[in-house]
Symmetry: C2
Subunit: 509 residues, 2 copies
């Protein structure tokens, strides 16, 4: 009798593959741990570090960044990826290989010398942008931004000379959601929202504003801490601090939230705290046992932003939330108003606002569309840097009916392009849109969530998000994750319905 | 005419050496930057991190530690060190090569497998020690400690099988101060101090204690912040926080201080804050432009401890300091007492204290001598782990006239051996001794410093320390640094004179 071939999983070759996968995974973990160490340094720099520490911290952070790059472009890793291409892997292992391979190929494609030039150009750009913004003079920044745009075009070309460079850059933030889908959604927002915004501007309804005067920071801090308590933020795995630009960072074991306070704007602090809580709740929901691998890491920007927007808008800006939370405002700030008054104030639409980060839930997306269209055309070579101020102001007027008086209030307001981050802005709006789609899916499955929210019972919603989004890490690509969670492809339908219903009611349209 | 040979510095061979040195130095900087990044993670873990973050932080920290080890044992580094052995280097460059070579050789000598076993054994030992201490039962810890002692003996043997293993371990903390010098100084303390301590115990003098009752933490924090203000702590390069076990960490750009508060012991908080300030002032005094190299790094434990003890004892426990600082205590704690009363309280000698970290300036050294003699004999194989409790208690009785009732108050009180740190304890006492020698040298050069201290003018003292200690980094070995700074070899003479004079006066001996 001849030898019967063993099935692949039992053959002698299976062992080397299992070993290869383990060595590969150890290397991947090392790469992730260094990244998380860098995250701690970043948090410290923004929240704790004395100002004089900058020169040393820059060296430390850029060294960790170099080490990560070395780990990602490592020859051993390349060899393991080669071996694993033909290996008999399960679905989770395949997902890990897919994610690492993609990052490895991108990192390998870009010459180190270009990485260095980009890093130097963006470092040097920061003070130039700051000064131009202070002087409100875009011409001071023009040459610097031209260089960054040029380097980013080179970067995109190094990765794939045959594709639209903006698409390539967008994939740094959103690797699997194709640019056509993204653009279609942004186009739908641009086409649908202005009518609603115009109707609101024409409405005679004046929404309530229960806040007057100034509120001290300690009282506001107690208030936002009580919000985090209500939302069951896990203080054993998190903390709250202040930062000039609020952010959230960390791992499933330690996901921290920051916020900021303005004396006359407690609603701003509440909104930003709940937003960052949403980010942290996603991070904390990643599986502990997969820490240090793509299965224990968050999916990309759009999904992350969907979690922050879902909690900020669908919970924190909802009527039942203010039924729950109004007593906390009275207790901490002494403001005795009907829950409906807070609800109205949380949802006021400002038709004269020029600043993205101060925008309401609706006009916000028009700010994003302006930036998206400009950066796309810049990177595609269809727009010159020198034309930005004129085009910016024209688009603001066209989409929002307001025209900045100066560059500081216009095209110099955001830091993203100074950092070379072209392709990042769209993910903010895509996140809001996805938040609505996910919230609708959750309500389809769980029934209306108003009672849960009003009674401070967030377990069902949190569990749904955890099971359908958080616990998968990077197991699925973004489109597959959306499909798995909602049963549908990515769509703006739910966001537009939600906006229409909510604001028609508020403004009696 | 034949060719005239060029001098070495102009020859064609000079260029490769200069390049080699630059590549070598870049590598050295990378190694230091990773170490400093790890330092930030350590600070965060002790001061800021929520408890749940431990599993992730352990992974991050041990990864940075692995990367440091890889950088230090790197083949390129070995080759550069070989090349530089014959190179034409100036004194500073030679010092850099000396320091790196020493660290490289130590790291290379120890098998990775032993490093790993040590790291695992000490990690596993921590909870065992904690439980044994909670139960006050050394026998629960005995087997664990035996393993650590054995591994440390193996470690010493790997580095140099021909030398006393305790000497080899001591050099991890104090590489250039030979063990005979260290032992001679500790022996002198053991021989000289008990007579003074006994005389104090027999004295009828009762020192004042102006504190009574409890003081709230916020008021105490304001008080110690005002002490740091008085001492000109650079808040732009530092910060103050609380930690269960106070420490200082950082770089010349960012050297942070921690302290702790007990309601009934403001003097404890003041002392610990000034002690940590001393460490930070050394770190901040390292040259900015040498950051990331041995010339911008502190000399070893003894020198570091000399700076903390100098500020804690020779400034913070001096009569003129309390002339200066008494009003701050009144302002912050409402305690209205004569400066002399605070001075007395700061210097009270406790003849019934069993705990090292609560010891006064004199009996402290007898606690160190007990530990030094025990750990030396353990590592040399002259003492069994099982004998520790008996020997500990006998020595405490012999040197200090007190005998612990139980192991928690005796041989289980310190964490050092659990971490495998044998050879560390002596540097605490050596630091105090060096502090006195340096302070005496400063006063020889500058004249009596009482007026400076009383008027809060610390510039002359700080400049002297900066020029004679801080700014050299690791330019000199410890004995050479002491010789350069004081014109003498390391000696206990100044400490013993200082102690005798101060305490004879206080206790009217």
């Amino acid at each position: 009798m001849g030898l019967v071939p063993l099935p692949a999983s039992m053959s002698q070759e299976a062992k080397p593959t299992a070993d290869t996968y383990e060595m590969f995974l150890d290397h991947v973990r090392k790469y992730h741990y260094v990244g998380d160490a860098a995250g701690v340094l970043g948090w410290d720099q923004q929240v704790m570090m004395p100002e004089g520490g900058t020169p040393a911290r820059s060296k430390q952070s850029s060294t960790l960044s170099t080490i990560r790059h070395e780990l990602l472009t490592d020859d051993d890793l390349a060899a393991w990826l080669d071996d694993l291409a033909d290996a008999d892997l399960d679905g989770e292992q395949q997902a890990v290989v897919r994610e690492v391979e993609r990052a490895h190929e991108r990192a390998n494609a870009v010459p180190e010398e270009l990485v260095k030039r980009l890093s130097e150009a963006t470092s040097n750009a920061l003070p130039v942008w700051e000064e131009a913004k202070a002087e409100s003079d875009f011409s001071m920044f023009e040459e610097t931004l031209e260089e960054i745009v040029e380097l980013r075009r080179e970067y995109a070309e190094a990765i794939d000379p045959d594709r639209d460079p903006y698409e390539v850059l967008f994939e740094d933030y959103e690797p699997y959601l194709d640019i056509d889908t993204a653009e279609a959604i942004l186009t739908e927002l641009r086409e649908e929202l202005p009518a609603l915004i115009d109707a609101i501007a024409d409405s005679d309804v004046e929404l309530a504003d229960p806040f007057e005067g100034e509120y001290d920071e300690e009282a506001q801090e107690e208030l936002v801490r009580s919000a985090l308590d209500q939302l069951n933020y896990d203080w054993d795995r998190g903390r709250l601090d202040t930062a000039p630009h609020p952010f959230s960072t960390g791992t499933q074991f330690d996901a921290r939230v920051t916020t900021r306070f303005a004396p006359d704007d407690p609603m701003g602090a509440i909104g930003s705290t709940i937003h960052e809580f949403g980010h942290a709740s996603y991070t904390l929901g990643l599986p502990d046992e997969q820490y240090g691998t793509p299965l224990g890491s968050s999916r990309n920007m759009t999904v992350h932003e969907s979690q922050s927007r879902l909690w900020e808008n669908h919970v924190g800006r909802s009527r039942p939330f203010w039924q729950l939370f109004a007593p906390n405002v009275e207790e901490n700030l002494g403001v005795d108003a009907a829950p409906g008054a807070f609800y109205e104030h949380a949802n006021e639409v400002y038709d004269d606002n020029l600043i993205r980060v101060e925008a309401d839930e609706l006009t916000y997306h028009m700010h994003i569309v302006v930036r998206f269209e400009i950066e796309r055309d810049l990177i595609r070579g269809d727009l010159d840097v020198s034309e930005i101020p004129q085009v910016w102001n024209d688009k603001m007027e066209e989409y929002l009916g307001v025209r900045p008086d100066n560059d500081a209030q216009g095209c110099l307001q955001d830091i993203h392009w100074t950092h070379g981050n072209f392709g990042y802005f769209p993910t903010y709006s895509l996140g809001s849109v996805l938040a609505s789609q996910l919230f609708a899916a959750a309500e389809r499955e769980l029934g209306d969530l108003d009672d849960d929210i009003e009674s401070g019972e967030f377990d069902r919603l949190y569990s749904w998000l955890n099971e359908n989004v958080h616990e998968h890490g990077c197991r699925y690509t973004t489109p597959d994750l959306i499909e798995e969670a909602t049963g549908e492809a990515f769509t703006a339908e739910y966001f537009l319905d939600y906006a229409d219903e909510k604001y028609s009611d508020l403004y009696e349209l």
